[in-house]
Amino acid sequence: MVRLLTALALGTAALLAPALAGAQDTPPSPEAQFTEECSACHLAFPAFFLPKESWSAIMNDLPNHFGEDASLDNDAMTAIEGYLVKHAARSNRRAFRKYDLETAPPLRITELGWFVHEHSNEVSRAAKKRAGTMTNCAACHRGAERGYFDDD
């Protein structure tokens, strides 16, 4: 009997746990919020393209986001910044050496040395026209939404 009751109690606890967590109206995971919010106007760029200093600078100036107001409520902002910082590129990578990350981190992936180099000769004029801007990764990189860019 005791064993049965213990089993029941444990089983119920397992059932209750998610319900209780839900009681605080759990928001979607930071990653889900990142994907949802950052993909409305462009690809949700993989966090590993920029160091955490860049992501914090970007997330702290969303009302002036590359010429647009992309403001978010504070909860979403905090969650998404946390996600980006956690998955950011290491700040000491060679690609970022020429930047003073504390005061002027890079804000545009398209301006990074390796990006310019990779796209300098091999992108045809037709491909550029189709994409419209260099920010439109998915126009040419079919795996871009999954973080896969090596298909050129």
Binding site: L15, L16, D25
Partner: protein, 137 residues
């Protein structure tokens, strides 16, 4: 005995599960939104005024986004595109029934886009007018 215990444990968890089912994103309709904005504005929505507002070039906002049509095009039954080139689904609810069915989404984008285009929030009247036009096409 066994059953009573079961009931004690299970009843609250079932109740909780019901009470905490997340609110659906699809929580409103174009008509309900137009009505709410009209009520707030204290006047009926005017689709023609909404059309003029949506198609006009405004000043006071950010230089790269003078008009709603910068991204949504002059014909809302067609798709537009963000400044990055990423496509935007049509705004007219007749061709895109998912439009204006999520109140948080509507609030967020009016806040952002009115600030980008006009440098201020849109008034309730302007929102009612724009939605009335986009819902009439």
């Amino acid at each position: 005995m066994k059953h009573r215990y079961l009931a004690c444990f299970l009843a609250p968890s079932v109740l909780l599960a019901i009470a905490t089912t997340p609110a659906l994103a699809q929580d409103t309709s174009p008509a309900a939104q137009i009505e709410a904005f009209s009520l707030e504005a204290g006047r009926a929505a005017d689709a023609e005024a909404g059309k003029a507002f949506f198609l006009a070039s405004h000043s006071g906002g950010k230089p790269d986004t003078p008009s709603c049509t910068t991204c949504h095009t002059m014909d809302p039954t067609k798709g537009g595109q963000a400044r990055t080139g990423k496509p935007i689904e049509p705004m007219a609810s007749s061709v895109n029934p998912a439009r204006f069915t999520d109140s948080a989404k509507i609030t967020k984008w009016f806040r952002r886009n009115c600030n980008s285009v006009l440098g201020r929030e849109c008034t309730a009247g302007e929102k009612a007018d724009v939605l009335a036009w986009l819902n009439s096409l």
